[in-house]
Symmetry: C2
Subunit: 359 residues, 2 copies
Amino acid sequence: MVTKIAVDAMGGDFAPQAAVEGAVAAYREDGTVVVLVGHQEAIGVEFRRLGIDDRAIEVIHTDEAVAMNEPAITPIRKKRRASVRLCAELVRDGVAQAMVTAGNTGAAMASAMLVMKTLPGVDRPALAAVLPTSTGRRTVLLDVGANISTKSHNLRQFAVMGHLLAHEVLAVESPRIGLMSVGEEEGKGTQQTREVFKVLEATGLNFIGNVEGSDVYSGELDVIVCDGFVGNVLLKTSESLAGMVGGMVREAVAGSWRSRLGAFLVLPALETVRRRIDPEEYGAAPLLGVQGGCLIGHGSSSAHGVRNAIRRAVEFSQADVVGKIGGKVAIMHEQEEIVLGRADSDSPTSMADGPVAEE
Amino acid sequence: MVTKIAVDAMGGDFAPQAAVEGAVAAYREDGTVVVLVGHQEAIGVEFRRLGIDDRAIEVIHTDEAVAMNEPAITPIRKKRRASVRLCAELVRDGVAQAMVTAGNTGAAMASAMLVMKTLPGVDRPALAAVLPTSTGRRTVLLDVGANISTKSHNLRQFAVMGHLLAHEVLAVESPRIGLMSVGEEEGKGTQQTREVFKVLEATGLNFIGNVEGSDVYSGELDVIVCDGFVGNVLLKTSESLAGMVGGMVREAVAGSWRSRLGAFLVLPALETVRRRIDPEEYGAAPLLGVQGGCLIGHGSSSAHGVRNAIRRAVEFSQADVVGKIGGKVAIMHEQEEIVLGRADSDSPTSMADGPVAEE
């Protein structure tokens, strides 16, 4: 079966230009079959700018879109033809195998939950960033912003999904899982991290305990679990710091002929570093825990970032991440619930206590 | 009056070597008057290694110290002669004008609160990191780990203290203050950030609203307020990322003759960048809100880091930060309390609900 990716043409700071150009690049460079969802006229303008035949890429027209700053939940319920929601419907109906959006994270999360539904055993999906590390090994950090406030069982589910992503997709034999806190000992952290520490110890996962910010890029962990507030701050701070360092290096080497010559010589080496840490090179984070592929890119994604996000969506679909995680997550949760005698539960689509609506 | 700095010789991962060597460097290079507090014999061994006369630097002997992993509150109450606590007593008694420790943060915080006491109008002190940014301007981030959980009025006090540090010491006319959250709009964030947003709006400070991780190193803010959990994760993640990038650059440029020659040429330029972002170059974060100078360095501080921490302590003392903040913080808080009709209050030295004991 051909893998078809639904691309939200109206999502992101530079939509529709970046989204359309990214989709066209995926089609031209990789031969990926994409379907663009958004305003037909606006998309047509980009097609002409890029010199691509209208008939080469399928377009599904809609007038409606969710703006970057809009609160997510109301528009998704009311705007039944919002581009991001239509993308989710294409995945639900099997027309597309995964969707990509660089738009409003909350709207993407709400669409995925409302339309695709969560996997059995998952109360809340989590956005999983796959980070580069010092050792070359990748570390899955979740949640990075789908949920602003979480309960202990949500974090336990994030750990299970992170474990399955690392094991099934990144092929890690026994993923090492850490809980983000402010000290390594069990007693460190907030009331919630202390509670989650005990919950994770009881899971049978390879839980190695509390970890700190200093462990994020060390390459010693396969999965780091945190709430979406901390994960979002951490990820955006990292991007901010990388940007500052890049700018400082450019400024410093421009200062003398000696360093300008040196910079010319080290450029190819520095370019490999930039590629390894630039989030645009990875492209997008998968939303884990919904019944379909949903990859969410940075709001500021360029065409290059969108093309890479589409590559991640193809990989995500072809690796059958949803099937692999879905088949096991319910079993793992059932086992844990027996162990833990868990009683508390969220209605999977209730989106209560705000997080979806807030982000 | 001569500025004398009390240095905790037993605090930090590399104590007493790094602490003693840092103190000796401050004495030799800057002529700073220091008093080392710790085990006399261990300190003497270092003095001989460094070839310094025993009589050149004052030593106050104690057998007791708090280990890096020890929970803080019990030892400080029980270990009445713990080196970090004696340092706080020297400051309280006016023997030293400020103290420096690279040891257990919780123990330093507890000692400062117990011995020096908090400033009138301050319920909890905050550890303030002074960060480099893209524009060269510095941004004060607080709290970075003195308090793990905070109430809204604690965060308001952090904003007031951050304002005063930026205004009185960094000479910023009207410091721009941001609240760390996950979106810029007022409604974004957790229940607490939404509450604190309203509280900060009512302060009369130059509160510009919610900020995100992407704003930390942008140089567009003078003060960023967050709880100690988020601040600690953010700061340690930044150090982890900077370390990873440094390692990647070294590895990448070692790959070919071309890039090794280039690296040799750009080295001086890259060194200036490293200095601007290396936390050891700054040395230590001031604990704001106690009645005395208390500078807390990274646990992994080298001798170079300790020497720089001592420089910060001298500056902190000579700029009379405690006097400048202390004189105004009570007035600002009183004004706000009238505005807000605040009723809730922590006992300044109660150290209840854990944070001091936990970190």
